[in-house]
């Protein structure tokens, strides 16, 4: 009997939500690491019982936890994230040079082939890699050394590397995104990188062809079409069909094109999901209505999905790593809110129901489809 395990990171711990393939009844486990911020929890695609969690705290810094039994037990592994060489400086909010300082791990992306290999996106923005199950971490410094690093600047949430996508057809090709530097691609396994931001238009950046400086919130890709990327930018929903070399806007009829997460249906590469947020100064859904928007045409034409979601007096946000899809048939869609609700749809978004309503603010949602 197939099933799903939803991995939820919150401001005050991690939770695992499990169900069978019907996705109607749920078991809730947690909080794990109670009281700590769990920016991200993700499982290995090749060993679903191997999980990694980013656990952090303003008081005690960064920890990485690993589970070998699907989250029943955990062990702390390596937490030493040292920048390669002399870290140098990036641009601070006031335009002055500011030294690179490690703060936390935002995103953990396990390898598609090896459960001991994981990539970590961190703040201040850099990409790290472990090949020994998290015991030791080494920076892939070609990213920061690309040359534009001194021009990178933090967004309001910090200068975080939050998106890591591995091309399933070519593991040497990866995409990452940084707020507020932009998107980058490597074609040689992370040794060298190029910015892929042509076509992005960001308010107040005078140069329409600016190489960096764009506040990319999230990028998504369907494994069967790895050259097609979908991006939720600070403002604008964007699409690329040439592996990020150029982008065009597909915001279409969205009520607002500001938002954080974006994801792709597991079986329909042109069906994508976003959660429009009112604005960059009002981080909640517009009109008090929680609506997921779905496009079945790869963008531009969007429909609101509302069945089962609150349609009045709702003022939550959905953060960039807080949406995921399972690969069951029909595809399940999941997202968590800053109000502590985790919603699930077992019918590709047509209808929704809360799995849990009263968790701490949700930072991340991942789902594993279990055999």
């Amino acid at each position: 009997m197939s099933g799903v395990r939803v991995l939820v990171g919150t401001r005050k711990g991690a939770f695992t939500l499990t169900s069978d393939g019907k996705r109607k009844k749920w078991d809730v486990s947690g909080p794990h690491f109670a009281g700590w911020e769990l920016y991200h929890v993700k499982g290995s695609p090749v060993d679903p019982d191997r999980l990694y969690a980013s656990q952090s705290s303003g008081w005690f810094g960064q920890l990485i936890q690993r589970s070998n039994d699907g989250g029943k037990t955990w062990e702390p592994v390596g937490n030493k994230f040292a920048y390669d060489g002399i870290p140098g400086t990036h641009q601070w909010y006031d335009g002055t040079p500011h030294p690179w300082e490690f703060k936390r791990v935002w995103h953990l992306e396990p390898s598609l082939t090896d459960p001991d290999t994981v990539y970590a996106g961190v703040e201040d923005a850099a990409l790290f890699k472990t090949t020994d199950g998290g015991q030791s971490w080494e920076e892939l410094s070609g990213l920061r050394g690309h040359g534009s690093g001194p021009k990178w600047a933090p967004g309001a949430g910090g200068m975080c590397l939050h998106t890591i996508l591995i091309d399933p057809s070519n593991h040497d090709r990866m995409y990452i995104a940084i707020s507020a530097a932009g998107a980058f691609r490597t074609d040689d396994g992370g040794a060298t990188w190029k910015p892929i931001n042509q076509g992005l238009r960001s308010q107040y950046i005078p140069d329409p062809n600016a190489e960096v400086g764009h506040c990319v919130h999230r990028i998504a890709m369907h494994p069967s079409k790895p050259n097609t990327l979908f991006m939720q930018k600070h403002w604008d929903v964007m699409r690329s069909d040439d592996a990020g070399d150029s982008w065009h806007e597909v915001s279409g009829n969205l009520p607002t094109d500001f938002g954080f997460p974006i994801d792709v249906h597991a079986h329909e590469p042109e069906t994508i999901y976003v959660v429009p947020i009112k604005s960059d100064s009002e981080h909640y859904v517009p009109d008090g209505k929680l609506r997921v928007y779905r496009s079945r045409s790869g963008g531009n034409e969007w429909e609101a999905l509302t069945k089962g979601l609150p349609q009045q007096d709702c003022y939550v946000n959905v953060l960039r790593d807080a949406m995921a899809v399972d690969s069951l048939d029909s595809c399940g869609i999941y997202f968590g809110t800053t109000g502590g609700q985790v919603y699930a749809s077992a019918d590709s978004g047509d209808s929704w129901a809360p799995i849990v309503r009263d968790l701490p603010a949700v930072l991340s949602v991942e789902v594993q489809t279990l055999a």
Partner: protein
């Protein structure tokens, strides 16, 4: 033996009780206490002081014998009552904030 009291989060992380006892060679200083503590409990590395600089993390404080030692040099001997195990060396996580 030196007695070290850890905050709840770090006790849970290291799977220890309210206090741990450490054999720290004299002269006993905060830096040497933390060296021995991190050696015995490697999972505490980086949680009390930074890996690279060995500076106390900003919101972690050290107390002993009713005194705040947080701003004292880490290589200054601790009070005799801590060195001889009468009083614990307190690592405190949150004295302010949410």
């Amino acid at each position: 033996m030196i007695r070290v009291a850890l905050p709840e989060h770090l006790r849970n992380l290291a799977k220890v009780g309210t206090e741990v006892e450490l054999d720290v060679p004299p002269p006993v200083t905060p830096a040497k206490i933390l060296d021995v503590l991190e050696s015995r409990y490697p999972m505490l590395g980086g949680t009390i002081r930074d890996y690279g600089t060995l500076r106390r993390r900003a919101f972690v404080r050290f107390f002993a014998c009713g005194e705040d030692l947080s701003h004292e040099p880490a290589d200054l001997p601790v009070p005799d009552a801590v060195a001889n195990g009468t009083e614990p060396f307190l690592v405190v996580g949150a004295t302010a904030g949410g």
